[in-house]
Amino acid sequence: MEVLVQLYTAILSLIPFEPVRNAINMLVPTLAIASMVLGIVFILIWWERRLIAFVQARLGPNRLGPGGIFQSFADALKVMLKEDIVTADADVILFTIAPILVFVPGLLVYSLVPVGNGMIVSNVNVAIFLFLAISSITTLGILMAGWSSNNKYSLMGGIRAVAQAISYEIPLLLSIVGVIMLAGSLSMVDIVQSQNVWNIVRQPLGFIIFFICSLSEVNRIPFDLPEAESELVSGYNTEYSGFKFAMFFLAEYINTFTLGALCTTLFFGGWRFPFDNLLGDIGLQLTAQLGIVWFILKTMFFFSVVVWIRGTLPRVRTDQLMAFAWKYLLPAALLNIFVTSIFAAIGFGVFSR
């Protein structure tokens, strides 16, 4: 993979004009990451359906291609051929903007995630801050979809999404503070490079809080109140069909993959091979050359855990959801910050920088 980056840099240096070079340097990695994510999403949809079927002692889609892997491509084709229905009395402008507003931030945040050694679109020094800022736009899109549909179920879903996002964003942010303290930086690359010992060892409580909160942020079961099928038909996307619905659907999977990517980056050493600094030269080579492979494997693991949770837990009630965020997660996150700051200040063992 390092070879690929070097090759790209070499080709780039052949281009004479600086503005053209910069423009291409902006475009190529962005398109590469975006197409990688969209390609992975198709596999994710298939993998989720297979895994959830395994949990329920079924087989899942297995007819199309090897193990049914082309099923999601067929579904995508079907959804694109469907009629694009707009409800009577819907707010057409908002109705059209909403899926874009949900879809684009999900894709945009991948410009901040390092997928391999040196494979990052823009190494911003406040990456985590920007990441959370961008990804919270999604909630606005969901509320917009709920409001503009002119449907009480959709509106209910949108309202729930906002209430949930407000509650869970706070412990989510606080749980990352411990990681930032240990790395001494907000940059994703610095955080990964600081993890000679994976952060999960230093921040187990922080990881649990982070995982639960991000599960809620991406509206996955057991926190899928905005689209609770059994209560709100399909929640905020009830009135959507065709390609607009596909955008909501893809955004959900992209966001779940983002959850995995963020867990990997912040707590499981990002693109680094496990214990690469202890394995010596081999470990460092594995990290340097095949970083993207470890990153995707780790992220897929977290995605699988999310699906496993989906197969196990029932949906929480709204009051339980709120109580859990404010009564359990928030104090725990504050405790985590307190303990981490003490250990980081003393700086013994794995907590030393």
């Binding site: 395994f54 002692a57 079924r58 297995n62 949770i309 197969g311 196990t312």
Partner: protein
């Protein structure tokens, strides 16, 4: 008198937390085991489930395997016993004064697979096969004549009724 346990608010807080963790652990453990459990889905057209020996599928009209003569003697027993009256049998008396069967038609769509005809046949000239995928695109394809129903066998399919249970005196 039942003893009522009084739990403080703090105690309840930690008890709820602990109970929740235990419940989630139990559920996650169970689903993890099920992930690797054998699947109940049948991959139907590829892998077919073995049918029971006396499965009543499509009905067959038997011919002898060696010389190819039909086993049917044209006694009309099956026609009389058929509940939906779907068997059409036509015979004539040949020159050697033996009954020849001209026509043995059946509408598979009407047949209720009751197997009465097979049981009543005195020479064992009928059989219920294990074939059950008889759906067609045309209604006319459901009409089976004696050639379409033909099956060549070595020995007649004599119905042996199960032994009646013995009653103690």
């Amino acid at each position: 008198m039942q003893k009522v346990e009084r739990v403080s608010a703090t105690g309840k807080y930690f008890k709820d937390l602990f109970d929740g963790i235990v419940a989630i652990y139990k559920g996650m453990r169970l689903t993890f085991i099920y992930m690797f459990a054998p699947k109940v889905t049948e991959i139907y057209p590829d892998v077919k489930r073995p049918l029971p020996q006396r499965f009543r599928g499509r009905f067959a009209f038997l011919y002898d395997k060696e010389d190819g003569h039909m086993l049917c003697i044209g006694c009309y027993a099956c026609v009389k016993v058929c509940p939906p009256q779907t068997i059409v049998l036509e015979t004539h008396k040949g020159e050697d004064k033996k009954i020849k069967v001209d026509k043995y038609d059946i509408n598979i769509g009407e047949c209720i697979s009751c197997s009465n005809c097979v049981e009543v046949c005195p020479v064992g000239a009928l059989e219920m096969t294990h074939e059950f995928e008889t759906a067609t695109f045309e209604q006319s394809d459901l009409f089976y004549d004696m050639h379409k129903l033909a099956k060549y066998v070595e020995k007649p399919n004599m119905y042996i009724p199960p032994e009646p249970p013995k009653i103690k005196k």
